[in-house]
């Protein structure tokens, strides 16, 4: 899915952290977000996912097109991997076929009956990433997806992204490693650091009150 963001201004809490964000992602393309810690990568992803309303600007794709893969795994520790995945499959209305694809993509079959509490960090990550396949949504928003994944599983993840892109999907990935994806461009988020001139319009307390 192709979409575009135009002069997007994003907030984290009460602070404006990004200003005038503009980019275009084509179908089958992955956009890699780069930038130092605190530059606003997570904020941008949360805004695109529809969790944090944008202060200004527009995105041509609705939040319903986005599959948000957060930093946190979002797994219920007391439930098994199969139960966790089945819940998300039901919540997104995707069927058994997607479930099978997700399990295969991240090699979760041996872990199906294990409780999420008993998984290692990397195994949890795999289960969390498998959720993206279950959403059936065209745009993946990934926040440091490879944290605690070993080399083999990183490759497995890269393959899953490739499959997604080949099917006409697109992705925004905040990551520091090279995933070896075919169509990628890099977006340096630090470019959009706020200049401090803007805020006056949105926040009446940005200037002296008397």
């Amino acid at each position: 899915m192709e979409f575009e963001a135009r002069s997007l201004t994003c907030r984290r809490g009460e602070a404006t952290v990004l200003e005038g964000v503009a980019f275009r992602v084509r179908a089958g393309e992955a956009l890699i977000l780069r930038g130092p810690n605190g530059a606003g990568k997570t904020t941008l992803l949360r805004t695109l996912a529809g969790l944090t309303p944008a202060v200004a600007g527009e995105v041509t794709a609705p939040p319903e097109a986005m599959a948000y893969g957060a930093h946190a795994d979002g797994l219920k520790a007391q439930l098994t991997v199969a139960e966790n995945l089945a819940f998300w499959a039901a919540a997104f209305g995707t069927g058994a076929e997607a479930l099978a694809r997700a399990e295969a993509a991240f090699d979760l079959a041996p872990l199906r009956a294990r409780r999420a509490a008993d998984l290692s960090a990397g195994q949890k990550r795999r289960a969390a990433l498998a959720r993206l396949v279950l959403t059936g949504r065209p745009v993946w928003l990934l926040d440091e997806p490879t944290v605690s994944l070993d080399a083999g599983n990183t490759a497995r993840f890269a393959a899953a992204v490739r499959t997604h892109l080949a099917a006409g999907g697109s992705a925004l990935i905040a990551t520091h490693i090279d995933l070896g994806l075919p169509e990628t461009r890099v977006l340096d988020v630090a470019r959009f650091a706020p200049t401090g001139r803007q805020a006056a319009g949105s926040d009446p307390f940005a200037e002296a009150v008397e």
């Binding site: 009460e14 009446p204 307390f205 009150v209 008397e210």
Partner: protein
Amino acid sequence: MSIWEYANPRRFMAASGAVQPYVWGLAILLCATGLIWGFFFTPEDFRMGHSVKIIYIHVPSAFLAINAWFMMLVASLIWLIRRHHVSALAARAAAPIGLIMTAVALITGAIWGKPMWGTYWEWDPRLTSFLILFLFYLGYVALWSAIEQQDQAADLTSILCLVGTVFAVLSRYAAQFWNQGLHQGASLSLDAEENVADVFWIPLVITLAGFVFLFVALVLLRTRTEIRRRRLHAISLKERLA
């Protein structure tokens, strides 16, 4: 020029600064007149003796205790619908005033109840619902101070105010319903409009007006403080992030 112009903090600060002295003057004048008149120049009530003098603080404070909440409700709605910061801050400013007024109404009611009904506390529906109102104020103030992000706090307290209003009204009727079973004719609570003679009525109205002006003056003062605090908050936020 519409009233919404004052939703801009700058305009509000200028306008409220100009108006404030007059409101305070009126409040002091009316309160002093009403209270001195009521306290020194009214006769004894044939039934209640001089204890009737408590009416001059009890009724106005009770009046404000309820109306402060309504003011907060309206201000919260304005914030939720039109996103005017001053409105949210005015609601925040009014809450402690309402809290104190409710406390005053309760305390003076209890003290008055002792000579009249022979007990400090009576689970009269009116007293009960004031006690519950007091709890609502406490929750509202506590929620405001618990949340660090100011816009978020304004949103959440506004939602609480809306829901709380519905439940406060429900509680009022619940209290009325609940006490029926226990004792009927305990309608000792004083209905000011109906059974107060003229001699007491005139100073009461003056004091009431005085309290209203006092409320307005306090809301103006406290809203100004909240606006300044909000500005300080914005400055420190900027410094933290820089």
